[in-house]
Symmetry: C2
Subunit: 492 residues, 2 copies
């Protein structure tokens, strides 16, 4: 089926409706919002095999992955429903009046987070469910009290349409206004541009390429009223292998990395695209095992032809750089969307002199950088751009000796991992999925976990308000029984 681009007048009308819907949805009762979010999960589950089959046919992702992703999607719907129902996320602060204070009385002031307005979400190619139509951006924005317009990713427009209809049904069943959520199609750049540039749009969520994310970011910053863009764009997720660990378990480490590199045909933003280690015989052994594993690994089908073609081109470009040596490449697989796993190596000297090697090759590829010594390893780390994650594999003693290296890595990433791989992003309050530029456009926020809601809110102070006019979260009697900072003390 062919989906026709939403026209520019239709986009304008959609944003106007979104703003109108926002003015009532923002004050929805928390129980009603929670019901809505849970109903979205129910309606997605009710789509059953039709959703799974449609997503499989559009993305070539295997059934288990789609089913898993559906679970994650309905999981975050229910997680945000719980968060909203509990209510403490609004960060209520209350400072009561001091009418007798000298020289001037202190007024009663109370503060909480409120939603910012209509949010535009771009469906992500690599997460047809968990980061698209009912993905983390959409659901966290709806939980915050924002209205949302989703632009379907053209590569899985049918999947997106199915989910959009499920959300519509959920809205109808729970009495949520019909334009709180809206869904548009757009293959052309102009659709996305019109959504981002509309004066009533207040924020943007995007997961995709650096080029795509940066264009949207720049559009948003050049508006008469700049707005936040939360774009997750590009990360090579360095993994540092410390020497003692490598000498003890080169093989096990290679197995662990081979699985991580090839997982989902390397189409994860947390794919380990860079491996750093000090050059020695253990590293050679590691490379040999990793290459052997990569050579026999299955060739997966990539999400769409554009991504596959991009992978082939970027891989070829990387391998053509001075000093880059192909260490292992999966044979077989010549079909259109084949994503052939590959690993290569390069000396730190060549790596440090070639900016291109710090850029993401989106797919099942990893580059091993051989460092002469600890100093050179440190220089390579300082040379890196911002990352979603950085991992260190080491035994406890050498980790303790490398505290300064961990300090440098912390400046580069949103999540630090010890003795593990970056793939596998837990959805939990302690997850930070967002790192320094260019991994994301705003390292101060996460797109995974409950704190993702913070992207779509701002604080408002209410000074000298009569009790009757205060939002329920700020009333004296605390009817929701939420945690509040009351005269500088946390209480319920």
């Amino acid at each position: 089926m062919e989906y026709i681009d939403t026209t520019l007048p239709e986009i304008n009308a959609a944003v106007l409706r979104s703003q109108e819907a926002f003015m009532s949805y923002k004050n929805s009762d928390r129980k009603k919002k929670a019901m809505f979010l849970r109903a979205i999960a129910d309606e997605i589950e009710a789509l059953g095999n039709e959703l799974v089959n449609t997503a499989m046919s559009e993305t070539y992702l295997p059934e288990a992955r789609i089913v898993g992703e559906r679970g994650r999607t309905t999981g975050h719907c229910r997680m945000f429903a719980d968060l909203v129902e509990e209510g403490s996320w609004v960060e209520a602060r209350i400072d009561t009046a001091l009418p007798d204070r000298a020289p001037a009385p202190k007024p009663d002031i109370r503060k909480m987070l409120v939603p910012v307005g209509p949010i535009v979400v771009f469906g992500a190619a690599n997460f047809p469910l968990a980061y698209s139509t009912a993905g983390g951006d959409t659901i966290s924005a709806l939980a915050a009290g924002c209205t949302v317009i989703v632009k379907a990713h053209p590569a899985h427009a049918a999947t997106s349409t199915l989910v959009a209809k499920a959300i519509d049904r959920a809205a109808k069943k729970t009495g949520i206004g019909e334009h709180v959520f809206q869904h548009v199609h757009g293959k052309s750049f102009e659709v996305g541009q019109a959504l981002v540039e509309h004066p009533l749009t207040k924020g943007v969520g995007f997961t995709g390429s650096l080029a795509g994310g940066k264009v949207l970011y720049d559009l948003a910053q050049r508006r008469p009223e700049p707005i936040p863009v939360f774009a997750e764009m590009s990360s090579i997720n360095p993994v540092i292998l410390l020497p003692d660990s490598l000498s003890q378990q080169a093989e096990k480490t290679a197995e662990m990395l081979a699985s991580s590199i090839t997982l989902g045909v390397g189409q994860f933003c947390t794919n380990p695209g860079l491996i750093l280690a000090i050059d020695n015989p253990s590293l050679e052994k590691f490379i040999a095992v990793l290459s052997a594993r990569i050579e026999v690994s299955a060739v997966g089908t990539m999400l769409h032809e554009g991504i596959a073609a991009n992978y082939v081109a970027k891989l070829k470009q990387s391998l053509a750089q001075r000093g880059v040596k192909l260490e292992g490449k999966s044979s077989a697989g010549s079909e259109n969307r084949a994503g052939m796993p590959a690993v290569a190596s390069v000396s730190a000297t060549d790596f440090l002199s070639n900016e291109l090697l710090t850029e993401e090759v989106f797919g099942p590829y990893s580059l091993i950088v051989k460092c002469k010594d600890q100093n050179e390893l440190h220089r390579v780390i300082n040379h890196l751009k911002g990352q979603l994650t950085s991992s260190v594999v080491g035994v406890e003693d050498e980790l303790a000796q490398n505290a300064d290296l961990l300090q440098s890595l912390q400046e580069k990433a949103g999540r630090l991992i010890i003795n593990g791989v970056p793939t596998g992003v837990e959805v939990c309050p302690s997850m930070q999925h967002g790192g320094p530029f260019p991994s994301t456009t705003d390292s101060r926020f996460t797109s995974v976990g409950v704190d993702a809601i913070k992207r779509f809110v701002r604080p408002v102070s209410f000074q000298n308000f009569p009790q009757s006019l205060l939002p329920v979260e700020l009333k004296d009697e605390n009817p929701m029984n939420i945690w509040r900072l009351y005269n500088n003390e946390w209480r319920k």
Copy 2:
């Protein structure tokens, strides 16, 4: 005394030193950081009359104001010292491992806020102490664990130098590295530009004009790595006078507004520059009383010649717009920096058709917009740009009847005030000083109160870290006894 602009090579060296200092200062013990912040307060107080006299001679602000501002400055040094010493501000979240979870084990993940790096702060013309060298931006950034480079405002460079030396003494006395805080001078645009564009600069604090703030914002967004700019720029702080209240207390309301308009020669970002009301005899009475008060109000001396000249020009321009009628203007005062209080009125029709009237006239001036009815009042509110504050004066019944108006105002401002004036910004946890563009560049953050620290941090997750390598805030035993979200439950 003449201060010479810091040269561009010196700026580069300063930012490099700031980054180097950051790598150790960021991990300073919380008690040491608190001691440093308290020592800054002590050293500022130790400057005694020399500071007061210097600031008075550079800004023409009266002694009581300077003394008051000094109290606010030392107050926020001690407030942030307390915050840092207590420690819960880092928003620690801990999710412990579930090694037996199926299908995959859950790793241990912990998250907290960490400082972003070197911050550049521009001294503010209108707050020589509280928003300049040891102002809220500097002190909250230092509290976060960032290093700071302050560019002195050229209009009070001697005051700035005195305070900078006090901070240097505080650093020396408490064993803080000598480049954690640095101070530079710059009358030329290039100095500020070089600071903002330096690749190691990670954030910017600014309080000043819309033109100045927007230029810095654009520079920062066009860097290869965009960085946040917290610029507080322009706000006309609308005050809505509801009819019942006005009919009951036109006189009292006029007195209250006259004081607020003329406070500090109108040189506050929260100065009430716009008064909205429905046209009726009570409004006429209000205008008569306000104008009479303005006509006899003292003419103050403005901060510097540039601000005074700008006020004269902007006031003249506003009064020259179609339909704008001068209602009252203070007589007397013709000296160079005189800021003559003035009020004018205009019909809502003329206001709605003239964008220029929504812009700030920085000084003791307020424009009264006469609306035909409630609908027109609502249209005027929707027509406004983003504001730091919005105020409503009304009796309780009519406030309840105007809930939709309060909802619209909430979309426009960071702080809503009932039956009060916007001037007088409390320093407390519930204060939001930051509103939608163009009042500030980022309405999600405040520049006043403890939450100001949030501007200079980002979250980092620590996955599968051994206890020995975790930051102290995240260790199991919680040695600092801070509030943490532990497996989704708040505890100490």
